[in-house]
């Protein structure tokens, strides 16, 4: 029996939804498994596949905080990410504004210079930076974790993004500001910044996540437990013999991932757009 047109369409649609669902399994399952295993005992994690624990061990989530200063490490990650984001927003919008809107000798060259820096991986400069930080006496502090992301390739990309956005803003409003006697700084603060909310949001989102997920830098610059950031803390749940404490590690990982996931679910459109914007233009 031949199908009608609308029936064919329905069949195609179901086929699409089914195949996408199958592809989605390795994207979703790790999260579900992680959260459910955080409630299991170490033996049960590998005992069976069921996503529902036999007994819910809420105690895991308390032990996470007593095993190492997890609350402190959590706070470290939050405040470092906020500091990096704040400083990056100010510096990148200042520099981006000047590069987009002000005429001065060397601006073009400077732009080229900065953009070429995007090609240099952090791994290349981390060794001299290690000695620089040692010389400055800031090893095992959070100073390198704030300075390097702000001034590394990521900061350059933020500057570049802001510049691209400022270039596209209409000039007339600025002229009006000039008429009203605003200084350059005033124009930047009172006119340019309020008009660039989408770009600022994009830079803020990717910068926060970038800092939050940083691993190599904390690994190299930080050594004491109370100065750890979350990514380091997560890889540190081992017993004295180096064997992983699975249940604690997964409970801690859930605690680190779930808040970000919730924020993502609420603001997913904005977050995805931010990445699209930075990816296409950076």
């Amino acid at each position: 029996m031949a199908l009608t047109r609308s029936q064919t369409r329905t069949v195609t649609r179901i086929f699409w939804a089914l195949s996408l669902s199958v592809v989605a399994v390795p994207f979703v399952f790790p999260f579900l498994w992680m959260i459910s295993s955080g409630f299991k005992s170490a033996t049960e994690i590998f005992g069976q596949l069921s996503l529902i624990p036999d007994t819910w061990r809420w105690g895991n989530y308390i032990e996470v905080f007593t095993y190492q200063p997890f609350a402190r490490q959590y706070f470290n990650s939050i405040y470092i990410a906020c500091a990096v984001t704040g400083i990056t927003l100010i510096l990148s919008s200042l520099a981006g504004y000047a590069l987009a809107r002000m005429r001065f000798a060397g601006a073009g060259l400077l732009m080229l210079f900065l953009v070429s820096a995007l090609m240099v991986p952090e791994e290349v400069t981390i060794l001299p930076n290690f000695f620089l930080m040692k010389w400055l006496g800031v090893m095992d502090t959070h100073v390198p974790l704030i300075l390097l992301p702000v001034f590394g390739p990521h900061g350059v990309m933020a500057t570049f993004l802001m510049r691209q956005y400022f270039v596209s803003l209409p000039k007339e409003l600025e002229e009006a500001g000039k008429m009203d006697g605003l200084s350059r700084l005033g124009i930047w603060w009172k006119i340019a910044l309020p008009m660039s909310r989408p770009a600022l949001a994009a830079v803020a989102i990717i910068t926060f996540l970038f800092s939050w997920n940083l691993f190599l830098e904390p690994l190299v610059f930080v050594s004491s437990l109370s100065n750890f950031t979350l990514p380091l803390a997560l890889s540190n749940f081992t017993d004295p013999y180096g064997a992983p404490l699975w249940h604690l590690q997964l409970a801690a990982t859930s605690l680190a991932v779930v808040p970000i996931l919730i924020v993502y679910l609420i603001a997913q459109r904005q977050i995805i757009e931010s990445f699209a914007m930075s990816g296409v233009k950076g």
Binding site: L20, V23, A24, V28, P30, W33, I45, F46, L49, L91, S92, L94, A95, Y97, A98, L99, M102, R103, F104, L114, A117, M119, V120, P121, E122, E123, V124, T125, I126, L127, P128, N129, F130, F131, L132, L147, F151, G152, P153, G155, R184, W188, N213, F215, L216, L230, P231, L234, S235, W246, T253, A256, V257, I260, Y264, L265, Q268, I272, F275, V280
Partner: protein, 307 residues
């Protein structure tokens, strides 16, 4: 006294601070925080690493001696580890980039038009991108444990006897590549969706009127229009795959039998575990050159494509 003498007497000299000079000074002031930080924490170190690479310097000996290009010849000629590492990095990139891009394009085509469920699926495929690589690697390390791991339990369910993924060199590389693709593909998917949405509808309509089917439209109209995006994605993804560190560090530690020892991990190991500063610096410069070459090649390709 007449008016004219007064005006000539008061004729102002051109002020030093012209509007143009003023703007230049302000411009440099605006960029100076970024520029100074960039010079200190980025350009300075980049120059320093070149000098380090010309020295023999073990942290324990506390002093460095100039050895010329010895570190480079050591890497390129004398040390077989180096070529093993390069081979691993190339295998990683050669496996990851096509897989990532094909999957990203497929998902983007499926999800570029508004419809029921599209937002849901986009959210799902993008979620690993914002998750920290550490969390992702930790969870997959568990899922891929020998017999007890969830992946092998599932495979057993359909009668397949899975390998001990992270303990066998070839399977470990495969597992690392696939889990990395799942983590990062959402980003490329989004870039492709943005590009697909910018494809003018008229072109497709015209092709349809000529009697082209869906596949022909994609091949003859959409795909050529995506070429610039494809190249950009290729640059970003290839460079990203040469820089992969955290994923390897946490899932395999470079093992088993150095089967997943890639360049970024090797540099870290030489620098911060064995403290071979000069050798590590030479490796870093080699990495820089590789990334630079990749970028230049692909920029040239892009120019050729657009002309």
């Amino acid at each position: 006294m007449t008016d004219t003498t007064e005006t000539t007497a008061r004729k102002p000299r051109a002020p030093w601070l012209t509007l143009r000079r003023r703007e230049a000074i302000e411009g440099w002031l605006f960029v100076s925080p970024t520029l100074i930080g960039f010079l200190i924490f980025f350009l300075g170190p980049l120059i320093a690493v070149v000098f380090y690479s010309l020295t023999e310097w073990n942290l324990l000996s506390q002093k460095s001696t100039y050895v010329g290009l010895a570190n480079y010849t050591d890497a390129l000629r004398d040390n077989p580890d180096f070529w093993h590492v390069i081979r691993n990095s190339v295998v990683f990139a050669a496996g990851l980039v096509p897989l990532n891009m094909a999957l990203a394009l497929g998902l983007a085509v499926a999800l570029c038009r508004p419809g029921k469920g599209v937002v849901f699926f986009r959210t799902v495929f993008f979620a690993p991108v914002i998750t920290s690589a550490v969390a992702w690697a930790i969870v997959w390390k568990f899922l891929l444990q020998g017999e007890a791991g969830a992946v092998n339990q599932m495979l057993a369910g359909i009668g397949i006897d899975g390998p001990n993924w992270l303990r066998e060199p070839n399977w470990a590389m495969f597992a690392v590549i696939v889990t990395r693709v799942i983590k990062m593909v959402g980003l490329n998917m989004i870039l492709y969706i943005a590009a697909l949405q910018a494809v003018p509808r008229d072109y497709e309509e015209a092709a349809r009127l000529e009697g082209a089917n869906g596949w022909q439209i994609f091949r003859m109209v959409t795909w050529p229009l995506l070429a610039p995006t494809t190249l950009i994605i290729m640059v970003i993804t290839t460079i990203g795959s040469f820089k992969v560190f955290d994923h390897i560090y946490l899932m395999t530690g470079g093992g088993p039998e150095n089967g997943t020892l890639v360049l970024a991990y090797y540099i870290y190991e030489q620098a911060f575990e064995f403290f071979n500063i000069g050798y590590a610096a030479a490796l870093a410069i080699i990495m820089f050159v590789i990334v630079l070459a990749l970028t230049v090649v692909q920029l040239l390709l892009r120019q050729k494509g657009s002309s």
